[in-house]
């Protein structure tokens, strides 16, 4: 019996893709006479969702998708024309399925009212407007099947330090069994249970042949979830289909045609973690390169220079390649917006047309992820506050239909992503008044503000709190948060507005990012960031672990004496006069020697986008850059290399 939970994530992401495609097509359908391709696309989406849900055992989704499929089958066979009632019903059904996916994700029970919707659709199917009483033609397409791979050869080594290798082997066996069928195992299950595990210098070797529909990604994920493994490798004996062929292209939006077969080998799905790991490894590599260059400057060695130059070029190339592997088209972030704008506009009784240009422009995937919420917020603002009601627009002599435009363009290493609308613009006087009322500025300041400064008040903390918390983002992030997020990833926000004509928010973004994991530490009331890769471990030192010799204190760890020092001292900060136990310390390695650095407090971990300091601050030894925390605070990133 295969444990379906392993497929859950994949199911969710694929079902989501189908829903997205369905939504796009429904929108197209609503806007005019649908072409055949649009109709068969919706049919296929419903069909695929049904098939996947059925194999996962999610019956409500299966049934609802089935009803949609039936309805669309009639349209496809020209037994029914597309009407308003039907489109609305299908939108509702798509939303309901989306909700059910969320319910699955959060391990909640399905809300039972989906049944009502399904019945409504079924009623519509029965009321055949053109050909009453005709039996629905059976679908010729077979159910989507996931063919099994011939077998994955998996070689695993359990650490020789494992407490109970046979139990570990059994756990491994169980985890693999959840993915498919184990057709061969060395040692066998019986031998494992009897504790007969061979050993080797590398650890306890185990070999399995697994027949499974799981992708290699899923297998390696499962193996990574098992502790005490020192090494594992696997190869597929025969390349087969994955769970669903569409999976091959994760970042593409709606698919119009049949799944590609020949292109499968050109794109693979990579766990995003691997992309992040690559960046980290690359970061290390560049640090080491820097060290070597430093060494060479101090002790020039014949011939070394040529090698270093080549290393420099290669690592720059490597950097570009890694970065380009992380690029994702903006389409991923904006593809939901047509539907979002449609729904918001309806809710507000407005008519709005959304235009998107440049969605093929690419950005680093971290940026895309981080931009998702800010963009929703900006769009929401444009709909709520920017675009006027049709009546108002008519009075102003504008076209009744408002326009929102998302435009992406690239200029060298920066991408400009702007959202503009042709609504009422931002009224500087209103903003000024609101800021005054909220006590964000005083009367004097208010008088002196230019128009531009006025409208930029919307970015000030505390301004947005009275904003209507929309249903869409559900979080009510203010413009302040939008600005913080964008600046946090190294970008900038520019707001322009012409009263009566419209407003534009332009995000100037870097194409790529350098994200480093840092530990936030507290020294003399200040917070600093310290690259995690530089820390061997963090410890709490107790009095009995300290030894003193010739005015130098040491931390005694097992048999090792590690020099103990206040981090404050390295930065010329005030050193606490006495120890407050336990001493929070970082064990670091500097110049090949271990060092215990005492800090006041460990604050937490963060993914930091480190920015260079620029002149003249960059000359200060020990400071490697600055980064902005999630809450907008700016902290210095410490660099150990410069401190010794």
């Amino acid at each position: 019996m295969i444990d379906l939970s392993k497929y859950k994530a994949l199911f969710l992401s694929e079902a989501q893709e189908h829903l997205q495609s369905m939504n796009d097509c429904l929108l197209k359908m609503e806007q005019g006479e649908p072409d055949e391709e649009t109709i068969s696309s919706i049919f296929r989406n419903a069909h695929s969702i049904k098939g996947m849900a059925a194999s996962m055992g999610y019956e409500p989704i299966r049934d609802l998708a089935h009803a949609m499929e039936d309805l669309f089958d009639q349209v496809r066979h020209k037994q029914r024309t597309v009407g308003k009632e039907m489109t609305e019903l299908l939108f509702q059904a798509a939303d309901r399925i989306e909700l059910m996916l969320k319910e699955i994700e959060q391990n909640r029970e399905f809300n039972p009212d989906w049944k009502e919707l399904q019945e409504k659709i079924q009623e519509l199917v029965k009321k055949k407007p053109t050909e009453p009483g005709v039996e629905k033609p059976k679908i010729a397409r077979p159910e989507p099947k996931a063919p099994e791979k011939a077998g994955n050869e998996i070689q695993v080594y359990i650490s020789s330090e494992a407490d109970a290798p046979s139990v570990r082997a059994l756990i491994l066996y169980k985890r693999l069994e959840e993915l498919g069928k184990i057709v061969a195992a060395h040692p066998s299950l019986e031998e494992i249970k009897q504790g007969k595990i061979p050993s080797s210098p590398q650890g306890y070797p185990l070999r399995f042949t697994l027949q499974s529909k799981a992708s290699s990604e899923q297998i390696s994920e499962a193996l990574k979830g098992v502790s005490e493994l020192v090494k594992f490798e696997f190869k597929e004996s025969v390349a087969g289909d994955t769970f669903a062929p569409e999976a091959a292209e994760p970042v593409k939006g709606p698919k119009e045609s049949e799944p590609p077969t020949a292109t499968i080998l050109q794109t693979v799905r990579i766990r995003t973690q691997i992309l992040d790991d690559l960046i980290n490894t690359l970061g290390e590599l560049i640090l080491i390169k820097g060290g070597l260059e430093e060494l060479h400057r101090n002790n020039p060695l014949a011939g070394l220079k040529t090698g270093l130059d080549r290393l420099d070029r290669l690592s720059a190339e490597f950097h570009d390649q890694v970065m380009s592997a992380r690029l994702v088209p903006i389409e991923v972030a904006v593809q939901r917006f047509p539907r979002l704008v449609r729904d918001l506009a309806r809710e507000e009784g407005k008519e709005i047309e959304l235009e998107i240009q440049g969605k093929e422009i690419e950005l680093d995937r971290t940026l895309i992820e981080k931009l998702a919420d800010p963009l929703v917020h900006i769009i929401r603002n444009a709909v709520y506050h920017g675009i006027e009601t049709p009546d108002e627009r008519k009075k102003q002599g504008k076209s009744v239909v408002g326009k929102i435009k998302i435009l992406a363009s690239r200029e060298r290493d920066m991408v400009d992503l702007s959202v503009s609308d042709d609504g009422r613009g931002i009224d500087p006087d209103k903003v000024r008044k609101k800021a005054l009322e909220k006590g964000l500025i005083n009367e004097d300041q208010a008088r002196e503000l230019t128009m531009e400064q006025c409208i930029n008040l919307i970015f000030i903390s505390g301004f947005s709190t009275a904003d209507k918390v929309g249903m869409v983002s559900g979080r009510g992030v203010g413009m302040e948060v939008v600005k913080n997020i964008v600046q946090g990833i190294g970008g900038n926000v520019i707001l322009t507005s012409v009263p009566g004509k419209g407003a534009m928010i332009s995000l100037q973004l870097p194409r790529t990012v350098a994200i480093t994991k840092v530990l936030l530490i507290k020294l003399a009331q200040e917070i600093f960031a310290f690259p995690l890769s530089r820390i061997l471990r963090t410890i709490e030192i107790l009095p009995y672990q300290i030894r003193k010799s010739q005015n130098q204190e040491y931390y005694l760890e097992r048999q090792e004496l590690i020099p103990l020092m206040y981090f404050h001292k390295l930065l010329d900060l005030k050193v606490p006069e006495e120890h407050h136990f336990p001493l929070n310390s970082l064990i670091v390695e500097a110049k090949k020697k271990k060092l215990a650095l005492v800090v006041d407090d460990l604050v937490g971990q963060e993914d930091a986008f480190i920015r260079p300091m620029g002149k003249p601050l960059e000359k200060i030894p020990g400071l490697g850059g600055v980064t902005m925390l999630g809450d907008g605070r700016i902290v210095f990133v410490l660099d150990l290399v410069g401190l010794f």
Partner: protein, 121 residues
């Protein structure tokens, strides 16, 4: 979000030791049980992300508790606490659906490694 932990062990000492291992922001010990029956009840009530389960406990053994919990929640993540020499019992628990095991005396790093892996699987 902190990983929510339920600790089942008949010895208060062991419970406290385990609690200490989890004393960080990454974890939140949401309940304790001193026997197998209580472990099952608390599991149903609290639905923890992770349950650490002693094998030998009064009223119902840890293995029986695993069986019942798995019946209730197929995806329950249970980590067995065992001593050296209890391999066959641990294997029985694994067969019953436990996801992993840790060995007494506990090495905190190892406990955390195992628990984090299980929690994220």
């Amino acid at each position: 979000m902190a990983i929510r932990v339920l600790i089942a062990d008949d010895a208060l000492f062991m419970r406290n030791m385990i609690k200490e291992v989890f004393a960080s922001q990454e974890f939140q010990v949401i309940g304790e049980a001193a026997n197998g029956v209580e472990a099952i009840e608390k599991y149903k009530q609290l639905k923890p992300d992770i349950t650490t389960m002693d094998i030998v406990m009064p009223l119902k053994s840890g293995i029986e508790a695993v069986r019942e919990i798995i019946k209730f929640d197929r995806l329950a993540r249970i980590v067995m606490c065992s001593a050296l020499g209890q391999e066959s019992l641990v294997m029985e628990a694994i067969e019953a659906g436990a996801r992993d095991y840790i060995v007494k005396p506990f090495k905190p790093e190892k406990v955390l490694e195992v628990v984090k892996k299980v929690a994220s699987s």
